[in-house]
Amino acid sequence: MPTKIEKDTLSGQNTTGHEWDGVKELNTPLPTWWVYTFYATIVFAVVYCALYPSVPWLTGHTQGLLGYSSRADLRQELSAQAKERAGFVDRIRAASLADIRKDPELFNFAMAGGRSAFQTNCMQCHGAGGGGSTGFPNLVDDDWIWGGSIDQIYATIEHGIRNTDDKSRQSMMPRFGVDGLLTGAQVAAVTDYVLSLSGKAKATPEGAKIYEEQCVACHKAGGKGDQELGAPNLADGIWLYGGSRDAIYRSIFYARNGSMPAWSGRLDEATMKMLAVYVHALGGDR
């Protein structure tokens, strides 16, 4: 193929000298700025590889001369943030729950911190808004199984319910049907009595008698319940495991002994205090 480099009059560039069927190709060089930018990126890449972690080995990677690590950055940011909050966190730790409740500044801080801790640790069971679900208490209503004062809520968070923690809240409802304490018919009778407490069924004398013998010790006369024992109020409109006749029958026959972990080993004191303030405010502060 003949090679004759010519100058193109229109563009002022040389041709490559190649020709195919009368078509010639221009040898337009890359723009200078583009070429130098490209060289600059190569230099940048080499410098970057030397300074930052870059080349992977089989068991690790080059560390880079600057010793940079995004994990170290995160640690640093977290500790900087902790330092920033330290003033408030120390004050929360030192103050009593009642004092936190009274100080607008501490209260607002605790509400924000409590909300964030709730979203991380509590919402899996109690729901994002604290609405709960069957078996997991609703924290937004006014009914508390183990007490709704701010100190009682703190104790529940700290030690949990029916777990291996030494100070865990403990109580045990017998499995009346499974363990043969009551026959099926007797369970049905006491179920009707329990429903009658909130006016939903007609009680039989047999049901009332069984309630007096088996239930009244914990659930008290009239089904008012006992927060010391974690015995729910049976006379109100709120049912943890459902208020249908069938659900109540099952609760008596099989017993319900829900558990909640103790958070004292997982969360620090300040976080638990903020959680208590937040949960207390959810249900409206009583």
């Binding site: 020709e19 069927d21 607008p104 609405g131 609703n138 937004v140 709120i238 409206g284």
Partner: protein, 489 residues
């Protein structure tokens, strides 16, 4: 592979083709010459006023008492407040900024339809800073001819000194420009000290650097290329101009045929233009106004000054290059009845009306602006909660904005749910129920958790619209619509 026939074909001579014009035109460097005159005076005055405002405004102090910035005009992005003397703008009032932008746009359209490219020629930052940079250049390197000579010379010690001096001066001005920019967003006196001590934030240095670089490059190097190639405004500005807009015109009918003129020669049979080229030499965009309207012309009027000087020298009437309308020029060229400038016409009336409407809307919005605002957000998880006695309760996050610089005590009430009981959670709440007093800190948003409870019998089925209202003793009032959700039946 080419066939032998084609090989032969290629050897036949082709007819000679005319040389096509090149596709690329290199920049012809412009060396504008200094000129004195009326329009140059006006341009200097505009420059001093505009740059003075730009550099000085951040330093104006305004006493707002403790806990508030003392800078008269400050856009505090960190704390999300705009401070304009005694007016404080919150982020949700950003529409005032939109309003000002719309006012600016219509103002520009209005001025353009009346006076042509008066924005480009006198007030555009590109023009103002380029003028300032050219003035510095002239001080250091001399006027047009000296600068052209200097640039043709090989590098020498003297040339290096002058060039270094010029670029240093440019960079200092550019840095002051960038500095002044950041001072609109941070406290000027403290930040200035911090900048020199190396204590300012990265953002401050980045923006100073950015505006230093853009000012230096755009006003020092790019100059008229910004107007000709980069700026979109000249492209669509033509839509605002018509044959009644004032533009810089060369009176061809009077000037042509042009030619050199010696003192004492007769003026009969020739035009008034003596082809002195002064109008070309002073043009900051390097064009010849005698070629007629051109996209490069920014309407600065310096060629008018140049021509006036020359006409006075040769003792001919001035105004050979002048502000005039296209319509008037066409009439003069056709020797028909003179056409007067008509500033009042449909186009200008329309722009003036739009300008007025936007201004009135903004004034009304500003006058109706309240210093209390209320937002209500209902908790939707759970949607509602049944209390132990069967009552139905909804929870709301209520935010009360207090734009005053003093604490506020407000009462909250709801309409649309007669049997409702109110409950509050918040450390700034005193009392309970409908008589509770909510305290909102100065210049802050108070957040309260509000419970609305109705007896089971009164609970609506589904959502019922209700209205929250806050009031204070001083007459401040704000409302917000919400709904109360009851169990579906």
């Amino acid at each position: 592979m080419a066939s032998p026939a084609r090989q032969a074909d290629r050897t036949t001579p082709r007819p000679p083709t005319p040389e096509p014009p090149p596709l690329y035109a290199p920049r012809a460097r412009v060396y504008p010459r200094a000129i004195a005159g009326k329009w140059r005076q006006i341009k200097w005055a505009t420059l001093v006023v505009l740059l003075g405002l730009y550099y000085v405004v951040p330093w104006l102090r305004w006493d707002r008492g403790p806990g508030a910035p003392s800078q008269a005009i400050l856009i505090d992005l960190d704390h999300r407040r705009g401070w304009f003397f005694d007016v404080v703008i919150w982020p949700q009032e950003i529409y005032f900024v939109t309003g000002f932008l719309i006012l600016g746009a219509f103002g520009l359209f209005f001025a353009s339809s009346l006076f042509g490219r008066v924005w480009c020629g006198f007030t555009c930052p590109q023009t103002v800073w380029t003028d300032l940079f050219m003035w510095v250049e002239r001080l250091i390197e001399g006027d047009r001819n000296e600068r052209m000579r200097l640039d043709r010379q090989p590098m020498s010690a003297g040339k290096a000194v002058r060039k270094t001096l010029k670029h240093t001066a440019w960079l200092v001005i550019a840095a002051a420009t960038g500095g002044a920019w950041v001072f609109y967003y941070v406290d000027a006196p403290t930040t200035l000290v911090k900048i020199f001590r190396g204590e300012a934030s990265m953002e401050v240095y980045a923006f100073v650097g950015l505006f230093t670089a853009t000012t230096y490059v755009l006003a020092g190097w790019a100059r008229e290329q910004v107007c000709t190639y980069m700026c979109p405004w000249p492209r669509f500005q033509a839509a605002m101009l018509d044959e009644q807009s004032l533009i810089v015109t060369y009176q061809k009918w009077r000037g042509e045929p042009r030619g050199k003129h010696k003192a004492g020669d007769s003026w009969a049979g020739r035009g008034d233009c003596i082809d002195c080229n002064l109008c070309v030499a002073v043009c900051p965009t390097g064009i010849d106004i005698r070629d007629g309207q051109q996209i490069e012309c920014i309407g600065c009027g310096l060629c008018i000054d140049a021509c006036t000087q020359t006409m006075e020298k040769v003792e001919r009437p001035t105004g050979l290059i002048r502000w005039d309308t296209l319509a008037a020029q066409q009439a003069k060229e056709a020797r028909s009845a003179p056409v007067a400038w008509r500033p009042v016409r449909a186009r200008t009336l329309l722009y003036a009306a739009l300008l007025g409407i936007v201004a009135i809307v903004m004034l009304v919005a500003f006058a109706l602006r309240t210093d209390t605002e209320l937002t209500v957000q209902r908790d939707r998880n759970p949607n509602f909660v049944r209390l132990s006695n069967g009552d139905v309760r909804n929870s709301y996050a209520v935010k009360v904005l207090n734009k005053r610089r003093a604490p506020r005590h407000v009462h909250l009430e709801i309409d649309g749910l007669p049997s409702a009981q109110l409950g509050f959670v918040g450390a700034d709440v005193e009392g309970s129920g409908a008589t509770a007093t909510l305290t909102v800190q100065p210049d802050a948003v108070g957040t309260f958790r509000v419970f609305v409870t109705v007896p089971s019998s009164a609970a609506p089925s589904g959502a019922k619209p209700i209205t929250f209202t806050v009031r204070d003793e001083a007459g401040g009032r704000a409302s917000h619509d919400a709904v109360f959700v009851g169990p579906g039946r």
